[in-house]
Each structure stands twice: as C-alpha cells, then as structure tokens.
C-alpha cells in the first residue's frame, strides 16, 4: 500500500516550508450514509513532524478538518537532504508514518 502521506518539504535559506496532504476520510460523525445511519466519526487526531530528533510541528485536529487534510507550516534549521519524519494517529488508533527528504 502506498503511504497515506504526501509531503513537500522545501528548504529556502534557513527556512523550510512543509506542505502535507493525507489521504483520510476525516468523517465527522455528523453525516448520514445512504441508509440514513450516521457514519461514525473517524478522523486524525494528531499529526507530528520531526526533524533531527526534535518535534518541529504538532497538529491536533478535530472533526472539522477537511477530508484528505492539508496543512502548511515552516520551520528554521532544516537542511536540504535532511530527513523529515511525518506521522499521524487517528481516533480509532490507526496510524501511518513516512520519512521524506527535504529538497
């Protein structure tokens, strides 16, 4: 299975800009299916970015983050070719993680 996580991390001088898109339903629990039953909430709760052994960004998400969620942030000190680790855990305890090279 391909990773659920897509990352673009680009270093420009001392600042690295990181954009991430994750394949996830982000079901809010407030939507009904075709049969009128509520689709249970299923959403990423925490998304963590680590570089060089330190956390550079932590996203805590609720049910209002869009399907296939996206987030952009930037941090100082990232080097081209350095490893950025991205991982998430959702409310059902499912997880995924990936490591990408900063470009």
């Amino acid at each position: 299975m391909a990773s659920s996580i897509r990352v673009r991390a680009i270093a420009n001088g001392e600042i690295t800009e990181v954009q991430t898109l994750i394949q996830h339903p982000m079901d809010s629990g407030f939507i009904k299916d075709d049969k009128g039953a509520f689709i249970p909430a299923h959403f990423i709760q925490e998304l963590t970015f680590e570089y060089d052994g330190r956390k550079v960004f932590i996203a805590d998400w609720g049910t209002a983050v869009s399907k296939d969620p996206y987030v952009k942030f930037s941090f100082k000190g990232g080097n081209k070719g350095g490893d950025l680790k991205v991982s998430w855990i959702d409310n059902k305890g499912e997880t995924d993680a990936t490591i990408v090279k900063i470009q």
């Binding site: 600042i15 407030f30 956390k55 805590d60 609720g62």
Partner: protein, 163 residues
C-alpha cells in the same frame, strides 16, 4: 500497517497516558489544570475538541481569554466555494508564538484545529477546514504566554433546499 509514531501500539499509548495522570494526581503533584496545554505538553486536548461553545473551548484549551490583535492576520474567503473544504490560514508578526488554534463557532464542535509551534518553527499556518454554515472563523495565537485573536466571517452557501 505502520506503528504509532512513539513506537507504542496506539491503545497502549492511550492507556499509559491515562494511568500516568491518575497516578500523578493521586500524589498531589499536578495542580488540576491538565487541559491548559502548552507547546511543551503533548496531550491531545480531547475535551476542548468536544465543546459546542467557543468560550468554553478556549477556556479548556488555554485557561484564559484572548484579546483581538491587528498583528494576527487571518486569511479566509468571503464566501466559501464549498463548506467541505475552506482554505484558511494565519500569519503573524508576534514573537515567541507557542500555539495557533482555529475555531468555527457555528460548527457542531467549535474547535477545528490546534497547532503547537515549538521554538524555531514559524507562526504561519495554512489548513483546510469544514464549515457547516456561515460563521465567524476565529484564530487564536498564543505568544509569550498571552492570547491574541483575529476573526473573520465566512459565508457558506449550502447546496440544496433542505429537501
């Protein structure tokens, strides 16, 4: 399947977290403000995410109130092209920012996202949020231990006629 990011299976991680706080509370070490998270605190603010009132969510998240500030620039559309995916971002000239949160008071759960900004990371964040209906969007920037906010109304035209 990959493992959880701290190497523990997720259920175990949650149990440990719960057990830890009970134990510490029992020893009387922790004053009862476990929900007033800061960037150093890694817990998921579950209760804040369940709130239906913006003030309640903010109180649970930070334990204090925010002041509007023109140093917080909230960018959101006038009219959301679709409430399912509304691009919203914040930028600020404030220094020592430790967290950023987005709230949508008209959503069933008002707190949408809470971002912890460790030292060395920039206080500029863009994300895409769901909006159930026309609402203010509130962004709160926590900087130097104080809270600053900006608010903008986003119109959401819901498709269909309700029937």
């Amino acid at each position: 399947m990959t493992t959880s990011h701290n190497g523990l299976p997720p259920t175990r991680r949650l149990i440990l977290k719960g057990a830890g706080s009970v134990a510490l509370a029992g020893l009387g070490i922790v004053s009862f403000r476990p929900l007033a998270a800061s960037a150093a605190n890694d817990t998921y603010p579950e209760d804040a995410f369940r709130q239906r009132e913006a003030n309640e969510a903010i109180k649970l998240l930070y334990g204090r109130t925010a002041e509007p500030s023109d140093k917080v620039k909230l960018d959101a559309p006038e009219i959301a092209e679709n409430g399912a995916v509304v691009p919203i971002s914040v930028a600020t000239t404030l220094t020592d920012v430790t967290s950023v949160s987005f709230l949508v008071p008209e959503n069933p759960n008002v707190l949408a996202a809470y971002y912890k900004i460790p030292p060395g990371s920039m206080p500029n964040v863009a994300n895409r949020l769901k909006m159930a209906r026309t609402s203010n969007v509130i962004v709160i920037v926590e900087a130097g231990g104080k809270l600053y906010s900006a608010t903008k109304e986003v119109k959401v035209t819901v498709g269909g006629c309700g029937g």
